[in-house]
Each structure stands twice: as C-alpha cells, then as structure tokens.
Amino acid sequence: MEFKEGRHRILMVSDFFYPNFGGVENHIYLLSQCLLKLGHKVVVMTHAYANRSGVRYMTNGLKVYYVPWKPFLMQNTLPTSYGTLPIIRTILIREKISLVHGHQAFSTLCHEALMHARTMGYKVIFTDHSLYGFSDIGSIHMNKVLQFTLADVSQAICVSHTSKENTVLRSGLPPEKVFVIPNAVDTTMFKPAPERLSMDPIVIVVISRLVYRKGADLLVEVIPEVCHLYPNVRFIIGGDGPKRVRLEEMREKHSLQDRVDMLGAVPHAKVRSVLNSGHIFLNSSLTEAFCIAILEAASCGLLTVSTRVGGVPEVLPDDMTVLAKPDPSDMVDAIKKAIRILPRIDPQEMHLRMKEMYSWHDVAKRTEILYDRALRCSNQTLLERLPRYLTCGAWAGKLFCLVMIIDFILWRLLQLWQPDSEVETVPDFKRTELKRG
C-alpha cells in the first residue's frame, strides 16, 4: 500500500453534510480538506439528499458516500439500531479505514456508525458541536443515547470549554478524554471591504436563523429602542424562520421600513457581501456552543455585540466584542457602548489579527494529534468493553450491554455470510497534477 507511515484513513460520519449549509456541515468539509492537505485520506458518509445518492467526489478527491437511507425527522436517518451495520461494515473494509470520526450528538447516523465501528474494533472519535439541556424529555433521551455512545469512545472533541463542561455532565465521560479544539474561519473568504465605510449611517447587521433559540424575540425589543435613541443607525437583517413574522410586525408598528432591511435567507456565498455593508454585527442567541457567525463577522472587520451565553466569551478578545446579558435593556446598553467605541476600530487590523488566531489548518493539526493518540489506545475485546456500558445506569447499563452483545453476534453472522476477504477494496487514486501550459 502506498500510504506513508503516520498517515490515517479517516471516515467522517454525520447526518449533516453538503448540500446542506450550516456550522457542522462546514466544519466537516473544511476539516476534511485540511486533513487531505496534510496527506491523510478522508471519506465522508452521510444520508442521501433528494436525488443525490451514491458516491460523489468533492474538491481534492474528498469521497462522499450518500447512503440511500431516507431522513425521517429534521435531517436525521431513521434509527434502526442494526440496519446500518452491513453498509458501514462494507465501507469500512473497502476504504481500509483506520479511524471513525462522528459529528454532532443529534445525528442518529453518527451514533449508529460509532456503535458499529466499536463492535468491529475500530477506534472512534466524537465531536460535539452544540449545547443541549438536561430537563426536557427530548434532551433526557438524547443524553442517554449519548451516554451509550460515549461510554466506549476513544477520544471526544468539544468546540469550547463551556461545551466540554456540558458534554461531560450530559454523558458522564471522564474529562481527561475530552479535548477542546475550537472551530475556525476561512479568513481568505471573509475579508473586510477594501474601502472603509462612512460612519453615517451606522449599519448594524444581523444574520441568523430567525428562531427562538437564536434570540429573534430579543431583536424585536432591541431594534425599536436603538432606532429611537440613534437616528443615524440602520439595521440589516438576513435570514429566515418562523419568527420573521414578528420582526415584520415590529417594523410596521414602529414605521421602520426605511431603517430596517429584511433580506430573507442569505446564501452562504453572499454572507460576506452582506457583512461588508455593515459596521457592527449583532448576535442575540440564547445558547451557543461556539458561534462561528461572530468569527466570520470579526474576520470581515465588524465590531461584535453579542449575548454572553455558552461558549461566546471564549471566541473573541475583549477589544473585538461587547457582551451583554440576554436581556433587552442590557443589549441596548451594549449597542450604545459599541457605537461609542466604533471609531477606534480598524477593520483591516482586526482581520489580520483573526488570521493569526484562527485557521482550519491549525484545527486539522490539533485533530491529527488526537488521531495519533486514539490509535495508540489498546485494542479491547467485547468482554473487556462491556463493563463500561454497565456504568450507564441500573437498567440502562444492562440494556446497553445487551444491545452491544446482539450487535457483536450480528457482526459475526455477517462475517460468515460474506467474509471480509470477499469485500473488494477500492484502489487508491493518485492525483497527477495537470500541467498548465
């Protein structure tokens, strides 16, 4: 095999990938591209989207398996516990995978893939991208599933220290196994406008999904107040969602049609141009594990005003951001402060600082260290692994052990039906560079 020593063959698994756009999707794609540049082989596995089913190749030879399992709820594949075992086994053998990396606690495909990969003896890594609650019924069930998956994971990654605390409490994982590797931003794509905008009017940009979780209700209170206090301030709101109606009503009620622009859903490629038309970026989320949106805004040279929730305080230095409690009056004060310090901000200097601080190549290198660590963990048999599941709970522990034993038996039966040697491995394609004349 041509593969150099120390190079890994990684399978990224998640329900969330291109053609969807979002934090998790971008993270997987950009991390995979940087790992490919470092010389590793990366294969992505996700479910089929509409007509997009089968094998596709993306930039730099990133191979994506769109497995034809229909999503049933909020982009997630139907959880069948053992249904995905044959296809996951086939992909792991034919691509000669050494390591499985699952993303996002809310992805059923990720949990199933990690479970089957552990049964088959592969090392697994899990990355958690969001914060979740503890008290509502959905969270309780999901946390139990997370406990099961993470009981036997080799390493886990969280995107901020707050997220690490949240994941450790939800899953009961020992903190030594969890590593913090923050997200990053593509600073080559998010650049400030070449010419600095004039200070009149001051434009405040909001780009987010207009849902409860992202604090759309706070915006409804804050915007009229700010418009009343500062006659030279305008708002640009990009994004769509169920709360859009409330914002439109607010606009009508206070006659702010000429001062508040609603752009609707903004495609990812246009986000930069929308950001470059503003001075201040407003983020009103009620919960955020990391918040890549403020990184993108800072990379474009905007001063950020945000709610002090979750992992947001860890993202930017104090002179690039003004934080507030998720309360309308506190947020209005924060915007007042931001408008006061705005003349001192230099977008180009902010962009250069962001370039130094955040880079996907750095994230890839740190993840590679984790992969090396995971592969050094010892191989364990089923009997050695079962006691870890027993700690999940009085009844749950025994149930999880039973699930793993059945998975093991099914795997052995599958090996009898179709031995590993019968699954054909895929040849490694070497890329020759096109010579440009």
């Binding site: 041509e2 089913s53 089968g54 094998v55 030879g61 398996y65 769109y66 497995v67 034809p68 399992w69 249904g83 044959p86 296809i87 086939t90 992909i91 034919r94 019968e422 054909e424 491995t425 895929v426 040849p427 490694d428 394609f429 070497k430 890329r431 020759t432 560079e433 096109l434």
Partner: protein, 193 residues
C-alpha cells in the same frame, strides 16, 4: 502462469474469447458465467416430483379431491421456474468494432435476451460504485446518447472488479475514447484531475 482470458472466483467465471473468430480481434466476446452446481437441479426436480407423487397418493389412497393434484403440479412448476428456469446463468458482452456492442443474458431455461447498441449511440463505458442501503459494489455501465439513465452491462450479476476491468478496457477501445484512469496490475490507479 494462468491463462489471462479466464478469471474465476467462488461465484463467477470470466471468459474472454478473442481468438475464436478469423481474422483475430474482429469480434471480442466476454462472458460471465455463474458456477452451476450439478446437485441443485436434481434436488429441485426431485422435490417437485415428490410433491406431485404425494398428491397423487393422497388422491388415490386417501380420497383427496383432484384439486390437490392440480395444486401440486402448480407448486412444482413454480419451484422449477424460480430455481431452475428463471435464474440467469450467463451474461455476455460481444464487442464488434465499428458496429457496436451486443449485451446478452442467458437464462436457465435456454432463453436468450439480446440487446444491440450501435457504436454511434455509445458514448462511454463507466465503472461506477453502486451504493444500496446494505452494500456497495462496482458495476459497469454504458452512457448512451439520448438516454437519461445509465445502461447496466450486467443486469443481475455483480462480478468483482478484476473481471470488470478487462471488459471496461475493451469497451473503451471499441468506443474510441481515452481511458481517464490507467489501471495497473497492483490495483493502484493514476488519474488526471
């Protein structure tokens, strides 16, 4: 050294007849034949016979109505049809340079289904990875002009890659298109991006 015109595995045998016709290389045929067990048809015929015999015995000795015998004939026929006549025993690709490609499917009952694709309609042969909810395998298909879907060369068989590659190379040569990947003996492939 093994004859390069024959490759076999547990399920399939691949045979390439390039030398049968004169002048050589005028017609190139590739066959994929499934391993046939001698025992299976004997057992199926025996079971069908036993079924009919049992029904006849029940009719004459125990007084069962004649419908029982008719049903037993019917089930016996169904058994024979599904296990002996219906399965495909051989799939062939016959390449006639300058004319086109003929795809043949041979059934257990002796029936042969043929499809001819003229060279003008044939755009390119491709080796695709076919992903199903439970597995992933290689399949050889043809891109046909004016058709939205790929035409599978082998309708039912899923032969291994080592059998598909020589057929694909022969099809590429016949349709006069450059192979975009060079396949080497050790399974490595070089490609242009």
């Amino acid at each position: 050294m093994a004859d390069p015109s024959i490759i076999s595995n547990a399920r399939f045998i691949y045979v390439n007849d390039n030398h049968k016709f004169h002048p050589p290389h005028s017609v190139d045929s590739h066959h994929i034949i499934v391993h046939r067990s001698v025992v299976k048809p004997i057992v199926i015929y025996l079971i069908a016979l036993l079924l009919v015999a049992h029904a006849v015995f029940l009719h004459f000795e125990k007084g069962e109505p004649v419908t029982a015998v008719i049903w037993s004939f019917f089930f016996g026929a169904v058994l024979v049809k599904f296990f002996i006549w219906r399965p495909i025993v051989k799939e062939s690709v016959i390449i006639m340079p300058e004319f086109g490609v003929q795809l043949e499917t041979h059934y257990g009952s002796g029936r042969i289904k043929r499809r001819f694709i003229p060279v003008s309609k044939n755009l390119k042969p491709v080796l695709n990875e076919h992903v199903t909810p439970v597995t992933c395998c290689w399949c050889l298909s043809l891109l046909i002009r004016d058709e939205n879907e790929l035409t599978l060369v082998f309708k039912k068989f899923r032969p291994p890659l080592k059998m598909l590659v020589p057929i694909w190379k022969a099809l590429c040569a016949a349709t006069d298109c450059k192979e975009s990947f060079e396949f080497q003996e050790d399974g490595q492939a070089r490609g242009l991006y």
